[in-house]
């Protein structure tokens, strides 16, 4: 470490001498930021493969905490395995319910111009800006007091996940809907298609990339959610991965927890990479400029 310091300092001085020539300071700042933002995660993933109990001393590579340890690995510790199953179950189900519901809502809200359309649009935007804890408390109280035929646990969690991800699906689909415009549909109807036919055979195929992205993004959102899942937990079997991470991070930390977190990471990164690749394929086909990554970067606004 200490041998490195003078050389780094000397280079820094040279950079400082002419910072405006090329944005070297900005570049340095950005890469330091990126290292700060990514390296801790890499280290956490690294220790999920540690061949020992420590989360700060590297003892060699192993799959001990994933499946080899007969008691403490993710595969064999029931509390960790159940969390994994519950997270996947919730994410899969909410993906399948939210996406069609959101696509229909996006179509409806984009085209329907009657009384009630404005308030409905406004209502749709609200979940986007509501702090999660507020939604968590609200759902908890409604399921324990008013809609008490919905038991806490998986059913309540599922309803909650669909509710908070619905608006984002609408935003994604609507963006594509505006980009596509109405010309294709109108052309189809001029050629004699009924409204329903033009919707099913012209518009839906045009929306396909957005629908696929929405599926993946709902999956990633749901599997990542902590607050709503935590407020609506009922017993051991409805604990999701993030809830498990929360309750064990300080109490009973072991590399198995890192392994569980890493699996979550691989899951959501896969979903989002698929969404990105899909977007890219469609953009290429349509000859769009720019990159899919830039599209994805703008998605969250």
């Amino acid at each position: 470490m200490e041998i490195e310091r003078p050389s780094v300092l000397a280079r820094l001085k040279r950079w400082l001498a002419n910072p405006w020539n090329r944005p070297r300071l900005l570049a340095l700042w950005t890469w330091i930021y990126l290292a700060w933002s990514i390296v801790p995660i890499v280290i956490a993933v690294q220790f999920s493969f540690n061949a020992g109990r420590s989360r700060s001393t590297w003892q060699g590579f192993s799959f001990q905490w994933y499946f080899q340890d007969p008691d403490l690995s993710v595969l064999h510790d029931p509390s960790l395995r159940l969390a994994l199953i519950q997270s996947l179950k919730l994410a899969g189900l909410s993906m399948l319910i939210t996406t069609p519901l959101g696509v229909a809502l996006a179509l409806g809200l984009a085209r329907w111009r009657g009384r009630g359309a404005k308030p409905a649009n406004f209502l749709m935007l609200f979940p986007l800006v509501t702090p999660e804890i507020v939604m968590g408390v609200a759902l908890f109280l409604v399921f324990t007091n008013l809609l008490d035929f919905v038991p806490l646990g998986t059913p309540a969690q599922l309803l909650g996940h669909v509710t908070f991800s619905l608006s984002l699906v609408v935003i994604i689909i609507r963006g594509r809907l505006f980009a596509v415009g109405r010309e294709y549909e109108e052309a189809a109807m001029d050629l004699g298609a009924t409204q329903w036919e033009s919707l099913r055979r012209v518009l839906l195929p045009l929306l396909a990339p957005a629908i696929f992205s929405a599926l993946m993004i709902v999956f990633a959102l749901s599997i990542d959610d902590f607050v709503i899942s935590a407020f609506l937990v009922s017993q051991e079997s409805s604990i999701t991965i993030p809830v498990r991470l929360y309750s064990s991070a300080r109490m009973a930390p072991s590399p198995a927890l890192n392994a569980l977190a890493s699996l979550l990471l691989f899951g959501s990164l896969t979903a989002i990479t698929l969404a990105g690749l899909f977007l890219r394929r469609y953009r290429k086909r349509e000859g769009a400029r720019g990159s899919a990554v830039e599209d994805l970067a703008r998605l969250e606004i």
Binding site: A44, S56, L123, F126, V137, L166, L257, I301
Partner: protein, 304 residues
């Protein structure tokens, strides 16, 4: 009104039918829950079990619990927590702006061939679970963790420091680390939209890079800064897990911790928890409205 007579817009009932399930869902599972918060906060206490009993009829609402919670914030036991929360959020947001602006600026305007790679790295934390990101810091800041190891190797400290108990700086680090990606991306989008020609015009007219930045780029990115700030402040005000994971001490408790305590960890606190939630919502209401309006404006622009 003319656009409504177009071929596609004719069958309003069809579009209304498409919107109906989603709207019903939101009324049942988004609006009704808010009514439930109100009914519990303004409800009464069961005299025997001391559990909160909701009152569904607004005419019979009793603001007693609500007023009590309000009193505790202004000059009561909760005052300190509320002030601490505001201080944490302001410090963490300011740090995010200071750290994040140069990054967003570099990526959008100067990164060149690195742009895509940097963007991928900037987007990644979005999709890495927040708690996993906090867990990685719990690992690093542990007594035996890398941070203490490095600081001791550099002989800055003689003995390991307890980072994870009741330290303001740790909680603020966690908040900045957790939310800064959500600030950088909207700002990036705003900076990316600025027309290069405007910047070049300023340079051509003789402004130095510094003044061009101050007079042209910075004002044009104001919307992005505001949007990013609001986006991270909203969840920070509702955050209870960051202080719990990185400190877990009453000394670093935030406002939302009180809500969590009363709703999740006691049986008799439902009413109080609901009242505190309403107060929190009222407090962040302005931020919410600002964000709503900016989303609505973005939608209108996309439509036009």
């Amino acid at each position: 009104m003319a656009e409504q007579t177009g071929v596609v817009g004719e069958r309003t009932w069809l579009w209304r039918a498409f919107a109906a399930p989603g709207v019903t869902w939101l009324i049942l599972l988004f609006l009704t829950p808010f009514y439930a918060i109100l009914s519990v906060a303004m409800g009464k206490l069961d005299p025997i079990f001391l559990t909160a009993e909701p009152v569904w009829n607004p005419a019979a609402w009793d603001p007693g619990v609500f007023a009590e919670a309000f009193g505790e914030i202004f000059g009561g036991a909760l005052g300190e927590t509320a002030l601490r929360t505001i201080a944490y959020v302001i410090v963490a947001t300011s740090l995010s702006v200071l750290i994040g602006y140069p990054v967003a600026y570099y990526v959008s305007r100067r990164a060149g061939r690195w742009k895509i790679l940097i963007l991928v790295l900037l987007i990644a934390p979005f999709w890495i679970n927040y708690l996993m990101r906090m867990l990685s810091w719990v690992n690093l800041l542990d007594r035996e963790g890398y941070v203490n190891q490095i600081l001791m190797a550099l002989q800055i400290f003689d003995e390991p420091r307890e980072w994870l108990v009741g330290r303001h700086e740790t909680v603020i680090l966690g908040l900045v680390y957790g939310y800064i990606p959500f600030f950088i991306l909207p700002l990036f989008a705003a900076l990316d939209r600025i027309d290069e020609a405007v910047v070049e015009a300023s340079r051509d007219l003789g402004a130095s890079p510094f003044w061009t930045f101050l007079r042209v780029t910075l004002p044009l990115s104001k919307q992005g800064i505001l949007a990013g700030t609001v986006i991270i402040m909203l969840p920070m005000f509702g955050d209870y897990y960051t202080p719990n994971l990185l400190s877990g001490s009453p000394k670093t408790r935030m406002f939302a911790n009180e809500i969590d305590l009363f709703v999740n960890q006691t049986t008799s606190g439902g009413g109080r928890g609901a009242a505190l939630t309403l107060i929190l919502m009222g407090f962040v209401g302005l931020l919410m409205v600002y964000y709503l309006l900016s989303v609505a404006r973005a939608t209108r622009e996309a439509r036009a």
